[in-house]
Point group: none
Chain length 224, copies 2
Amino acid sequence: MLILLAEDERDLAELTIDYLASENIECDYASDGAMAVNLIANNHYEVIVLDVNMPKLDGFKVCQKLKNQGNTTPIIFLTARDNLQDKLKGFALGADDYLSKPFDLEELTARIKVLAKRKVNMPTSFQLDTLSVDFKQCLISRSQRRLSLSKTQWQLLNLLVKHSPNVVDKITIEDEIWPDQQPSKAMLKTLLFRLRKLLDFDGETTLLHTVRGTGVALRVDNNE
Amino acid sequence: MLILLAEDERDLAELTIDYLASENIECDYASDGAMAVNLIANNHYEVIVLDVNMPKLDGFKVCQKLKNQGNTTPIIFLTARDNLQDKLKGFALGADDYLSKPFDLEELTARIKVLAKRKVNMPTSFQLDTLSVDFKQCLISRSQRRLSLSKTQWQLLNLLVKHSPNVVDKITIEDEIWPDQQPSKAMLKTLLFRLRKLLDFDGETTLLHTVRGTGVALRVDNNE
DNA sequence: TGAGTACGTTACCTTTTGGTAACCTTCTGT
DNA sequence: ACAGAAGGTTACCAAAAGGTAACGTACTCA
C-alpha cells in the first residue's frame, strides 16, 4: 500500500516512515505543501497524511486544493495543537480523520488501514484494438476470446498498460516484477514471449512491440 | 439522519442526544449492549456510536457480533480510558473511529458526519443468478433452496458481495476474516472449499471463481 | 452429558507457474 | 561479411497454488 506523508519535521517523518514500512505501508514523503500537491498530482495514493503546519502551503490549503480538483483520496490531518477549532476546520474541509501530536504510530497505522480499506479506485479497464482488459475483475479478452493470465503476466500487462503507448524499458520492468533481486536476463525474455503468445495470436494485429535495446511497448503500430 | 447511541451513563447520553438533535442528528438510544444489538437488528442506522464499557455486552462484543453478521454500518467507539491497546483492539474489530472521553460534542458531530457521508449503503439484499442473499435477516438461498452459513462463511460472502463482480485479493480476505494473526494458508483454501460446496452445487452455474495467484470473485462468467 | 457444528490442521493429488538452459534468428557496428 | 549482441523459441523440471478429504478439538445447545 502506498501513501503520502506530508510533514515538515524531518525527524518525526523519518520515524514514521520507518515504522509504517515495517507494517507494509510504503510512504512517499513531502516536506512541504507544495511538494505534496505535486506528488499527489503525479501519483496515486491510497491515503494522504497531512501535517497542518507546513511551509509553502499548509495542510488545510492542500486539502482544499485536492477537494476542488475532485480528488477523493482519504485524508488524515496531523496537528501539533490539540485544538478543537482546527479539528472542526479540518473536518469541514473534508478530512476523514484527525490525529493530534504526539500520536502513537500504532494508532496512525490503524487509522490508515481503516481508511484504505474502504477506498476503491484505480484505472480499471483498458481497450486497445481488439484487446480489452479489466484489472478489477481480472478479465481479459482479445476479439471476444477470453484469455487467462498468470499473476506475473498480469503484473507485466499492468505495467505496459500504465505506460501505453509508450515504451517501458527493461530495467523498469525487472525492478517492478522482481523487486528483490535481478532475475537472469532470460527470464524477461521468456515472460514476454509467453505473454505475447497469449495476446498476439493468429491474424490479430501485433500489440506487443519490442524496441530493440530499450524495452517493450503496448500499442497499435500501423506502419512497420 | 438516524444514528444509534449506546452508552450507559444516562447523563452523558442525554446531553449528547440533545446536542446531536440540534445538529439534526436523531438518536436512538440503548443503555446496554444487549439493547443495542436488538435495536440494530430491527432498525437501520447510518452510524453506530458504542461505548466500550457497557452492561450486558460491552462495545467490543457488540461490534464483533455485528461484523460477524456482515453488518457494515460505520462504528465509532467511545471509551473512558485513553488506552492505546483498547483503541487498537477497536480498530482490529472493524471500528471506523475512536473517541476518548471526555470528548467534545462538536468533534463527535464532525466525526459522525464524516462517517455518514462516505457510507456506501451496502444494499441489504443481493441477487446474482439463482443466488439471493439478505444480509439483514441473514437469509440465503440458491434456486429456492435455503442454505445455512456459519459466521465465517457469512463474513466471506459479505466481502465477496461487496466487491462483486470484482476479484477480492486473498490477502484482503485473510486480513478481514482473521484480523489478529495470519492463519495457515490452508485455512482460506478450506473455507473457500466449504463455501463453494454450499453455493455451487449440482447443476448450478459456478459463481465462486478462483483467479489463480490473486484471489476469488463472485460473479456469473459465461464464457470461460 | 452427548450429539452436532464450526473450524483449524494435515495430507495427498493435480494443475499451473516460474525459472533455466540450449539453440535459433535477426540485427548492428566495423 | 562477420562476430557479437539482442531477442525469440522450445523443452524440461521443481515449486507453488489450488482442490479435496479426513481428523481432532472446542464450543453450543438441549
